[in-house]
Symmetry: C2
Amino acid sequence: MTLKNAFYAQSGGVTAVINASAAGVIETARKYPKKIGKVFAGKNGILGALEENLIDTSLETDKQISLLKYTPGGAFGSARYKLKGLKENQREYKRLIEVFKAHNIGYFFYNGGGDSMDTAHKVSEIGEAMDFPIASIGIPKTVDNDLPITDTCPGFGSVAKYISVSTHEASLDVLSMAETSTKVFILEVMGRHAGWIAAASGLIANQRNDPPHIILFPEIPFEKKNFIKQVERSVKNNGYCVIVASEGARYKNGKFLADAGTKDSFGHKQLGGVAPVIANMVKQSLGYKYHYAIADYLQRSARHLASQTDLKQAYSVGESAVKMAIKGEKSKMVTIDRLSDKPYKWQIGSAPLAKVANNEKMMPRKFITRNGYGITSACKTYMLPLIKGEAYPIYKNGLPTFSKLKNKLVEKRLKTKFMV
Amino acid sequence: MTLKNAFYAQSGGVTAVINASAAGVIETARKYPKKIGKVFAGKNGILGALEENLIDTSLETDKQISLLKYTPGGAFGSARYKLKGLKENQREYKRLIEVFKAHNIGYFFYNGGGDSMDTAHKVSEIGEAMDFPIASIGIPKTVDNDLPITDTCPGFGSVAKYISVSTHEASLDVLSMAETSTKVFILEVMGRHAGWIAAASGLIANQRNDPPHIILFPEIPFEKKNFIKQVERSVKNNGYCVIVASEGARYKNGKFLADAGTKDSFGHKQLGGVAPVIANMVKQSLGYKYHYAIADYLQRSARHLASQTDLKQAYSVGESAVKMAIKGEKSKMVTIDRLSDKPYKWQIGSAPLAKVANNEKMMPRKFITRNGYGITSACKTYMLPLIKGEAYPIYKNGLPTFSKLKNKLVEKRLKTKFMV
C-alpha cells in the first residue's frame, strides 16, 4: 500500500480559531510520516478540490504552521459553496474523486458546519461507490454553535468571550454617560437562526438590573409593545438600557426586524441590520438618545480575545481527526463531549456524519428567562467554561504576529478543467 | 493654612483608560496626606460640582482604586455639559466656587478635552476674582487625539490599537471568504472632525495592496467617482477591498456622508452611519457583496486591548497633575512631550490652559498619502509607539475584573439647590 495523502479544506464563515484546527491537522500528520503523506489544503475550500487548486502544506515551515494557532480568518481560503445532492449533481462528487485519485488522496478532512458534514458524508459514500475509498472525517467549526451532538462548536467560545467582554465594556461606557447623553445602547451580533452568540452577553449579568438589560433572541418572537415597555423601565430604574440583538431577531410571523424596508434618499432599498431598526423604534416611541454598534466580522475574527478553552478544543478536533483517520475510522465527525460542568471536563468523541448533517441546534427554552429577554443560570453553567482562559496572540511592536503562508499550489495532473 | 481638599471630574466621552488617570490622581494624593486632604469626585462630572454631588473617594479601598487602571468607562460618571462663557453665565462659575468653598476645595483637576480645558481655565480666573484661589489643572483625555501642544491624548493610543488590530483581523476574514462571498468590507470608526482614529488602521499595511485599501478621512473631501474606481481596482487586483471610514467623512461642500437622508418604511428620517451609505454606493455602482461593522462605543471602551504606552501615559498625567498642584502650579494642562521617535521617549510637560482651550489638532496633510486614501510613513513613525505594549486587564473565570466603587456622596453643606 502506498502512502496516501490527505486533503484538508475550510468551509463557510471562518472563525477566530479555525486555523488552529488546521494546525492540529497539519502538525499531527507531520508526526506520522509513515501513515500519512502530504497534507494538501483546498484553495478556497472545496473549490480547491473541484478546480484542482491544491496547496502543498509540506512547503510551509513548522513555525508558520504553529503561528496558525494565533491567526484568524481562513489561511487557505474558505468558500460558501454547498455541493448539491448526489442525485442532482453526481458530476461534482465524481470530480472530487478524480482529483483525489490523481493526487493519491485517501483522507478527506472537512472543517465546517452542518452543510459541510453533509458533503463529507456524501464524499465518503461516492468514494465507496467508485471503488476509491476515502476516510472522510468532519472537523466541526461554527461561531453559531448550532451543530448537534457535539457539546459545543470550535469558534463559538471565542466569539462568546468577545461579545460578553465587549458588552461589559460598552455598558460601563454608557452608564457613565447616561445622565447627559446616550441612554440606550444596542449591540447587534451574529446568529441568524440561533441565539447562542447573543446569549453570551448575558454572562456578565450577576445581579438584577445588571446589563445587558434586554437580549433579543431569534428563538423568541419580538413584541414591540412589550419591548418598548422594557426599555422604558430599564432607563427609569437604571438610568440606561443596554440591548444585545441577534441579527436574526424576528416577529411572530417570522419576518426579520432587519427587513424593515428601509430606503435611502434615492429610493433604493437599504439592506440594514437589526440595530438601526431598534434604535429608530426607541427614538420614535421614547425619544431617548441612542447609539448602536454592529460587531459583524469583528466578532468572529477577534483572535486577540480568543478563549483558551476554545483554542484548545479547536486544535484538538483537528489533531483528533488525523488520529481517527489513521486508526481507520471514517464517515465520522469529531465531537467535543462534556463530562462535567464544575469542574468543567471534556473529552474528544465522535458521531456518524449522517447523524450530524443538516440538523441545527437551537437554544433550549430553559436557557432563556421566562420573560424572553435574558439567560438562565442553566445557560451560564453551560456557557461560562467555554469562554475561560485568555489565549493571546504574540505581539510585536504593538501588533499581533500572524502566520504568513506561501500557499504554493501543487502542479495539476488532470487534463480537464472543472467549471463550478 | 488648613489642608485643602481636591475635586476631580471626568468630562465628555469616556475612554478605555480615563479611569487610569483617576487612579493616578487619587493614588498620588494619598501619598501626600500632608499636602492634600480628601479627593472628591464629581458625580457625573462637572454636574457633581454644580449640584453638590461629591463622591468621597477616601472611602474606597486601595485595591478598588488600583483596579481603576483596568476599568473602562467613567467610574464616577462623566457629562456632556459645557459651561457657557463667563459673561453669559457667571451663575454657574459662582456656584462652583461656592461649592468648592463649602467643602474646602483648593484643587480642581479636570479630566477632559478642549472644552474642559476652557472650563478649567475659567474656574481658575473666577476663583481669583472671587478671592478664593483654585489650583486648576487640566488632565488631557480624548480618543479623538485632537488636543494641541500635547504630543498625544490619553485614550487615543488604546482606540488606535483596537482599530488597527480589529482591521487586521477582519481583513484576514474577508480575504479568506472573498472568492465566493463578501468582497467589500467597511469598518466605521469614530472621528467627527479629525481622522486620527481611522488613520490607525493604516498601521497594519506594510506592502502595496495590503489592507486597508481605502481610508476615508474627514480632512479629505470625498469624491464618489474616484472612490468607486479605487474599490473596483482593489477588488480586481486583490480579490477584495477593506475600507475604514471616519464617521466624519464628508463631501467637498462639507455635507457628511452619514447624512444621506435615509428613511425607514414609515418615512421617518433614519439617522445612520457612514458605513451603510458607502455600502449602498458600492452595491449600486459595482454590485459587490459587502459587509460592514460599526465599532461605535466598542472602540473607545475596549480596555481588553489597551495600549501599554497609553495606559502608562493616562496614569502619568493624573499623577503629574497632583504633583504640579502640590508644587503650586495652576492654570496648566499636563502634556505629553515627545523627546524622540526611535527609540520612542517621552516626558511630562505642561502648557497654559489658555493656550489649549478650544483649539483642535487635525491630521497634518503630510500624514495622509497623496491620493488621500492611506497614511504615510511619517504618520506611522508618529503613531506606532502609541499602540505599543499590551496592558491586559485581570481575568477571572473568563471575564475581566473591573473596579466596583461605592461612590458614596459627601453630605451637602449648601442650603440652595442648583438647577442645571
